[in-house]
Amino acid sequence: MSFDVETLTSDTAIVHVGEALDFRNADEFKETFQDYVEDDIQNFILDFSETEVLDSTGLGSIFSLYREISPQDGQVAFADVSRPVQVVVQLTRTYKVFRQYPSVEAAKEALTS
């Protein structure tokens, strides 16, 4: 499974995470965002609307993305966070780092205006 990515502006993209981000596809996620980071994308909206599984390896790959873009003041925004993702975000206290938006639209507006 590959990730569905939409480029919004020259520095912002949406990644539709899909059903699962876990130890099976975390490396693929990393390769995906790497290509976009190289193209100067520094703001990522992660669409979690369909996500049923986010395990610690998957979350780790999001952290890697954050580590990569935060020195350039980039942002990782969580949009339309599903219940299973919410649990992980609560547990690891990462809502302190990743801004959450109720929908992809709301995140788009906040990041591109």
Partner: protein, 373 residues
Amino acid sequence: MAEHSILIVEDDRTVRELLKHRLGKHYNVATATNGQDALDHVESSIPDLIISDIMMPKMDGFALQSALQSDKNTRVIPFIFLTARADEPARKQGERTGVDDYITKPFDMDQLLSRVERLLERVEVFQSNLDAEIGRDFSNRLLPDRLPDVNGYRFDFHAEAHAQGGGDLFDWVETDQGTYFLTIGDVMGKGLRAKFYAYSFLSYVRGTLHTLLKESTSPAAVMQSINEMLLSDEVLEDTFASFLLLHWNPHTHTVTYANAGHCRPVLVTPDGPEIAEHSDLILGLEEDTSFSDVTLDLAPGGALFAYTDGLTEQPGRNGNMLGEAAMRDLAAEAQDRDQPIEAIRTGTLDRSAEDDFQDDILILWMQRSPNTD
């Protein structure tokens, strides 16, 4: 299982295409037309198996095989020679090391396929046995071989490794004041890589804890140093870990903790079990993260139950993960049992849709005896 890659080295186009076609149905096949071409290919990507002709222009099969033997990275690639009848004397004359099989042309395709399959299977079994052995070795090193023995307390600990498990770790040290500093952690990721990072990480924590504890027994202060280390160390870059540091004072019956994104422990009080709510950001993410200490009182008969996410992420009967609420119930059930950890283990599996744990699990149970003041 990932698809194996095979490199076919053959100057005869017909044979090359035939092999590519047949093997391509099962494997990821690349081709080269002579030894030199094959070496260039191997340099950019190491195949799982090489099938090579002997007589070829530029660089023949023998020269290729010798070149591969001279480099430790390529020496271990399984190697099959396709030999023409005319090559038989040469083959017999020089018994070559590092050749796994000879197949004489004209060859039987089914026989070739079955030999390839067997060879790859052998490599795979060897690799997974090795991984399992290293994994077990790391797991053992991530856990202590003895536990604190304190009057008026019981201290139980249990960990079991899962083949697909990650980097759970636990360690403890007694301070000069007769108090105890406990470290529980979970390095993100799965498999050997997570275990390796957990091991490197724990070695660092063990090494520095001694020095740090001379200055402060504040878990939050120690957590801060660990976070800074994690962010500045290049080897550990991209390593993230949840950590729970506990400073346990059996004289005052208190546990002071700092929690960096780890599963929240359960405190069993006379009023029942409650989740130790406070926690801060996971380690390895932000440089200026601040951590704070929270102190819990252990009443007579009271207990503290700490664990890793193998327990909370165990699938429940309805398919959802068991979660924190189940941990609180388990603590209540375990409180009056002779073997609290066994009660938690079986209680978890009773609630689960699976007969066995799906990840590493780690359980720590410390309980003050009911009759102390």
